[in-house]
């Protein structure tokens, strides 16, 4: 036997040795166990995304027998469509209000709640309750609360001598009012994320900063707490932005897009499911998806780091 032959046969033996019956079983079971979820991933994610891309370059409308290839016309039409541009701008305005207020509101509440020992459970409950409650039902309640004549909010405003505010009547107040409800819903969520971040900061560091001369709690916040909360703040910013860009329920209940108050998802809903402009709505969906993906890139990289393949 030549050395080459010997090498060859040992290599074969080695390969045989790596596929023991046990490993063959793992391989078989692995494929079997992953099969249902993989099949559903193809049916629910992969195929629809391909179909979405396909629809977006056609003038297909649901139920139509004929359709034409229109290239990027749907996309150029979207950016020339005053309704869609208004929806995009409304959503950006909504996000610009909800993101900073939601983040710093959540952080502020978390800092205050973190210092409480005995009453912490109660505060967590009170601030987190809006996160769990059905938003459609709560939006109806807000409609009532903000009613110009029947609502307690305007009663308080009148009590202080100001004129009643028509929160859901004045077109320029619609998006800020929706944003206020958005902040109300997101603060508790962000509070819990910040509380987790605060709990992870070692107490020693606060002590060390105090000994180093940061006597003022505000100084300690900026030298120790705020820098160490960096990753949490990043994560909170991403989740709050995505939530803000997905605003839908409050629009569906409170304004239905009247007086030019459509948001991205609401405009998309109308085009795709109310007017059945499937091709055009697919283009809008891709624009929406692109925005969400850009917002979540940081988060994905973060997740990827935690996973070991």
């Amino acid at each position: 036997m030549s050395t080459a032959d010997i090498q060859h046969s040992t290599a074969v033996a080695k390969r045989r040795a790596t596929t023991t019956p046990r490993e063959a079983r793992m391989l078989r079971k692995g494929l079997l166990f992953a099969a249902p979820a993989s099949l559903l991933l193809v049916l629910i994610y992969l195929l629809p995304l391909i179909m979405l891309g396909g629809f977006s370059v056609t003038d297909y409308t649901l139920g139509a027998l004929r359709w034409n290839f229109v290239g990027i016309d749907n996309f150029t039409a979207a950016f020339a469509d005053p309704v869609f541009m208004r929806a995009l701008w409304n959503t950006v305005l909504y996000a610009l209000i909800v993101i900073p207020c939601g983040i710093f509101g959540g952080l502020g509440v978390a800092l205050l709640v973190h210092a409480r020992k005995r009453s912490r459970g109660f505060w967590e409950f009170a601030y987190f309750l809006p996160v769990t409650a059905t938003l459609v039902a709560m939006a109806t309640v807000w409609q009532f609360l903000l009613h110009p004549t029947l609502g307690p909010v305007n009663a308080v405003i009148s009590f202080f001598g100001a004129a009643p505010v028509s929160f859901l009547g004045n077109p320029s107040l619609l998006i800020p009012t929706l944003a206020m409800i958005g902040i109300w819903q997101v603060i508790g969520f962000n509070m819990v994320l910040f509380l987790a971040g605060l709990t992870a900061i070692p107490q020693d560091l606060q002590e060390a900063a105090r000994l180093d001369g940061a006597k003022n709690p505000i100084d300690r916040f900026f030298t120790v707490t705020w820098p160490l909360l960096g990753p949490t703040t990043m994560f909170v910013t991403v989740t709050t932005s995505i939530t803000a860009f997905k605003v839908f329920e409050t629009v569906a209940v409170l304004t239905k897009g009247r007086a030019g108050s459509e948001t991205l998802l609401y405009a998309l809903y109308l085009e795709g499911f109310d007017y059945s402009n499937t091709g055009y709505a697919a283009a809008l969906t891709l624009i929406f998806l692109l925005i969400v993906l850009v917002l979540s890139i940081g988060q994905t990289l973060h997740l990827e780091k935690k996973v070991h393949y």
Partner: protein
């Protein structure tokens, strides 16, 4: 010093007042007679109690019980299928070696970024072509695979000791027994957190039911509430608030009973 000590409490109390005001107003209006709705007092006890009338009105002018039942059916169906598909997949990804494993894991992580709303249009067209709109199946189908559940269980299962799995294999346990009986049992907190996440998300979801359901008798609670508030158009706030109370009550009661699990379940997502 003595005054500044109480500032945090005062700020927290004021904030909590705003947070809880809608719940308080909802509950209060639900038990007040229509005549007192115009009364802007925050006093908790109405002059005459009209809870029975309001709740009866809410339950009879729309099939409120049916909405709640639909919500239970849809949430239970979705959760069951999600667990049945995600647990074996996560076990295979975490503990078994098979070709395509890395690709599948990468796909799951990529899919975490894709919101349901981006898939709604093609799924709707598919279901419409298959004549399956206005069915429970249409309401549940897009959620039969939860990439979030796969990701969560994968992270949790990975820390399960391999020695125990090997020993179980020696003892003749099937992979099915190991997956469901041993590994999942070691991840019950992840399971309960995911259950909370899934149930709350689907009980509260409006977007997808609004797309595939037009029949009142199939509406889940949020869609039913929308029908109800559109029909009432502010005519009877007492009944409207009674309806809102009925719909929010199950989740709020569960939250009261299991605050820690609830907060863990909902916030571990981030990605919805």
């Amino acid at each position: 010093m003595s005054v500044t000590r109480y500032i945090p409490h005062m700020v927290l109390t004021l904030g909590a007042g705003i947070m809880l005001l809608p719940f308080y107003w909802m509950g209060l209006t639900a038990i007040r007679p229509p005549a007192e709705v115009f009364d802007l007092t925050l006093w908790p006890i109405p002059k005459t109690l009209a809870a029975a009338e309001n709740f009866t009105q809410a339950a009879t002018s729309v099939p409120m019980a049916r909405f709640m039942l639909n919500g239970v059916i849809v949430c239970a169906g979705i959760l069951l299928v999600q667990v049945v598909t995600a647990v074996p997949c996560a076990y295979a990804l975490a503990k078994l070696r098979f070709p395509g494993r890395r690709l599948l894991l990468a796909t799951v992580i990529a899919a975490l970024c894709v919101p349901m709303q981006a898939l709604a249009l093609p799924l709707f067209v598919g279901l419409a072509k298959a004549q399956m709109l206005n069915t429970y199946f249409a309401m549940m189908a897009p959620f039969f695979v939860s990439v979030f559940a796969i990701f969560l269980f994968h992270q949790s299962f990975r820390s399960y000791p391999d020695e125990i799995i090997d020993a179980a294999r020696m003892d003749g346990f099937s992979e099915m027994d190991i997956c469901w009986g041993l590994v999942l049992r070691g991840s019950l907190p992840a399971l309960s957190a995911f259950a909370v996440f899934s149930i709350v998300a689907h009980w509260n979801d409006l977007y997808w039911p609004m797309i595939v359901i037009t029949k009142t008798e199939l509406a889940p609670p949020p869609l039913g509430m929308l029908f109800f508030s559109d029909a009432e158009t502010g005519a009877n706030y007492g009944a409207l608030m009674a309806g809102a109370t009925l719909i929010t009550a199950p989740i709020v009661i569960c939250f009261l009973l299991a605050r820690k699990q609830f907060i863990a379940g909902i916030t571990m997502s981030g990605v919805k």
